[in-house]
Amino acid sequence: MVEVRAKAPFRPSVGSTDVLLRELVAHLRENRTQLREEWARRITEAKLLTAMTPDEIFAEATAVYDNYLEALETGSIEALETYARNLSERIIPRGVETHEVVGIVLLLRDVLARSLFARYRADFTELNRVQDAYEPAANRIANTVAVGFVQERERVIRQQQEAIRELSTPVLPVRERLLILPIIGIIDPQRARQLTEQLLRGIRVNRAKVVVIDITGVPAMDASVANHLVQTVEASRLLGATVIVTGLSAEIAQTLVNIGVDLGKMNTVGDLQGGIEEAERLLGYKVLPIPDPSNNHA
């Protein structure tokens, strides 16, 4: 090994790296069928991409293989970047994990490196130069694909968070000075904060006297969120509004009692209908049925 290094004193210049890479690519193209099958076999062996059928894996493997060689040959990773993004878009919804994507690219890198070892094993000097040319390019490709995948994932997550946030907290004026705030889904601390902000702003803008917060659609609540709810009720009072909380599920009621939230300050009514009736009473409204004219004659 030491002897080999001593025998290869020069670093290959850029020009010769290019020539060498082209030679490598030619070699890898020649053995395309065999290497591709080897790769697909090793993917299955390593239990990667289990969400996909063997046929799908083979099809993707072929496409990745060709893109990989092209990136090696031209040194341009743009096409590969685009492909990696497309691939991620297709496979993320199917539950493919980051480690699987990184895994298959590293496997391909390994399969190709082994093939190169086999081809150049007669001449160590040459093999060293081949490695010098191949390794950096291969690393860059692996990097590109992995980063592309993670970025796509993050984009999807961001998009979903945004969607949730937009759907999150409507503050609805129902009558003069009466607001309803229906909450659906899990409340995390960030959402709780946003909810409070919107409610307090809503009270201000609509000059609300009474607010009904309906949590029928909230499956569970932890201590910090429960406390946040109590704080929201208190803050609303400081703005001169009374808050009625409706639709507490049995689980939430138990949680609230167990964690010892001070319920004395909370005005709770069983369901939204009862809450609105209570609010109307507080505001001095009285809802009466319109008398049926036919009854007058009776």
Partner: protein, 123 residues
């Protein structure tokens, strides 16, 4: 900076226009408690719309003011607390318990009218 106190029918209205230091707050409290007796007022409104920060001393002073003027026969209502201020106060545990709050001056007046009417009825 002294806070102007306006007499309006049976009520005293103190409208805070700028951030106050502890000394100013104490003076305001003393002036209001004194004037409640002087003008035989039935209600006090403190408008803090202009305050961006309300600390524990301010909250304590306002609460004391409410309790003191109640002892002298006047109901107190704090109006114009900003939404952000309200939430910050609650998070710090400064909830002004036992003190009435209303959205703005108009609401405060409505509240006091109702309160004094209730009191007249029970008498």
């Amino acid at each position: 900076m002294p806070v102007p106190i306006l007499k309006q029918r049976d009520y005293l209205i103190a409208s805070i226009q700028a951030a106050l230091n502890d000394e100013d707050l104490k003076k305001l409290r003393e002036a209001l408690v004194a004037q409640v007796g002087e003008f035989r007022s039935r209600g006090v409104i403190v408008d803090i719309t202009a305050l961006d920060v309300v600390d524990s001393f301010a909250v304590r002073t306002l609460r004391d003011l409410a309790h003191m003027s109640r002892l002298r026969g006047a109901e107190t209502v704090i109006v114009g607390i900003q939404p952000e201020v309200a939430f910050a106060m609650v998070q710090l545990g400064l909830t002004l318990e036992g003190v009435a709050a209303a959205l703005d001056l108009e609401e405060g007046l409505t509240y006091l009218d109702r309160k004094t009417k209730e009191r007249a009825r029970t008498k």
